[in-house]
Amino acid sequence: MTELLYLGAGVAFIVGLKQLGGPRTARSGNRIAALGMLLAIVVTLVAQDIVNWGTLAAGLVVGGVIGAWFAIRVQMTSMPQLVAAFNGFGGIASALVAAVAVVEIGLSDQAPETVVTLILSTVIGAVTFTGSFVAFGKLQGVLPGRPLVFPGQKIVNATLGLGLIGVAIWAAVSRETSGYWMVGAIALVIGVMTVIPIGGADMPVVISLLNSFSGLAAAAAGFAIESNALIIGGALVGAAGLILTIQMTEAMNRSLANVLFAGFGSDSSGGVVGTMSDKPVTRATPDDVAIALAYAESVMIVPGYGLAVAQAQHVVRELADSLEDLDIAVHYAIHPVAGRMPGHMNVLLAEADVPYEQLLDLEQADPQFAHTDVVLILGANDVVNPSARDDPDSPIYGMPILNVDRAAKVIVVKRSLSPGFAGIDNPLFYDEKTLMFFTDAKAGLEEAQLALKNL
């Protein structure tokens, strides 16, 4: 009976995920999955002969209050770091579940496959934990967002990796619990070392991958404690995270190995910096921007991470409303890796009440640019860089971009001419149809909005 109820929870997760795939059903999907979770928790509380009710109740209350506090207080611009932190908490919980089994029973009395899965869930959970919190630190600005690289880094990491495998095999064969704890400790270090050399703009890939890992850690714990509910939930999340990871790497035309190990965006890979920076650009005033927008029939807005940094999502929607009042068609073109996590820009614009029909993805937006009068680029850079299309020597050559240079006019709102994260100059800025409006996205849009009203 208990197992059937757990199966019910698993079905709720599948139905919930299915419904999360459509904008109209997504909210009920999330609630169905949450009900499935509640069912699984209640069944566990009833079915297990719990003795330590005090400890358990305290843990549930403390965790519930902390989780709810973060969920309610977080700003939408900080969503990537919150999801990173939650991934980390899930990962370490799975590792701790395995650790308790080792503390209680030890390794010597376990079946061989149980020893293997205990070690696996510990390793995956621990890597997910520290990796997620390094990602959190980078996104929150506590750690530098650029790749942190040092000489001999690859050798150190390879040694750690081989050491982990060696100690894990020794622990599994000898059944020494000290070996188990060493494996856990090495895995914690590996999580840190893997994420520190990864730059901020590659975070969509990292968060997706850590999401997948948090699921795999739960599945591995499920094997160790023989729980199908954990295996089902973990496998679903592992698959979901993996699909997003693949979609993100495809959107950057990079392999997962390249994202994880290349230290992309560090000084060593930015060999072409400054080669074009002497060329003149056309500077625009708020009035120029307002006039260009007011006389357009169609405007496409391209948001990037700069929009999130400037918290400009509400201002851009107000500007878009004013343009629509002038019967100008406004759409938003969103590159899959714009921002710091998959769908980051969509959440920000949803917060500002932009209806989702106005948001176009790469495939939907691209054919539109040739018929667009004005493209307004807000804090995006590499995803609109034509050298990804035209220059085989460019480090980002082959990355699918938004071909904004096919529109009649391009306005770039950007704080300075500094190159993007990848350290690559952008020929778009020197194009004769491009107006450069050097300002903070929020302040700049407010000025443009004011100028538009005064026309």
Binding site: L20, N30, A33, N52, T55, V237, L244, M341
Partner: protein, 100 residues
């Protein structure tokens, strides 16, 4: 069939279901999908409850307590924040309705 083989069977089938269900999600919902999936990975909470509820030694109880705290943050925070995000996703029709 051994428990291990049953486990592997369940894992493989669930992974395929996951791939099938998720591969068609539009990019606009990627963030809520990820945070909802993240909350589901908090299913490890049932392992944590068992560990904390049955732990006999003090060390097991402390680790079990921490596991419950972390897993509960993941579950409660994950589902709540996903709901908060999805509340904001509106179609043009919803938006016109609420503003008039």
């Amino acid at each position: 069939m051994s428990v291990l083989v049953i486990g592997i069977t369940v894992f493989v089938l669930a992974a395929f279901v996951g791939i099938e269900v998720i591969s068609k999600v539009p990019p606009t919902l990627h963030t809520p999908l990820m945070s909802g999936a993240n909350a589901i990975s908090g299913i490890t909470i049932i392992g944590a409850i068992t560990a904390a509820g049955l732990g006999a030694t003090p060390l097991a109880q402390i680790l079990g307590f921490l596991a419950v705290v972390m897993a509960t943050i993941n579950v409660v925070g994950g589902f709540l924040v996903t709901d908060r995000m999805l509340e904001m996703f509106k179609s043009r029709r919803d938006r016109d309705k609420s503003s008039k």
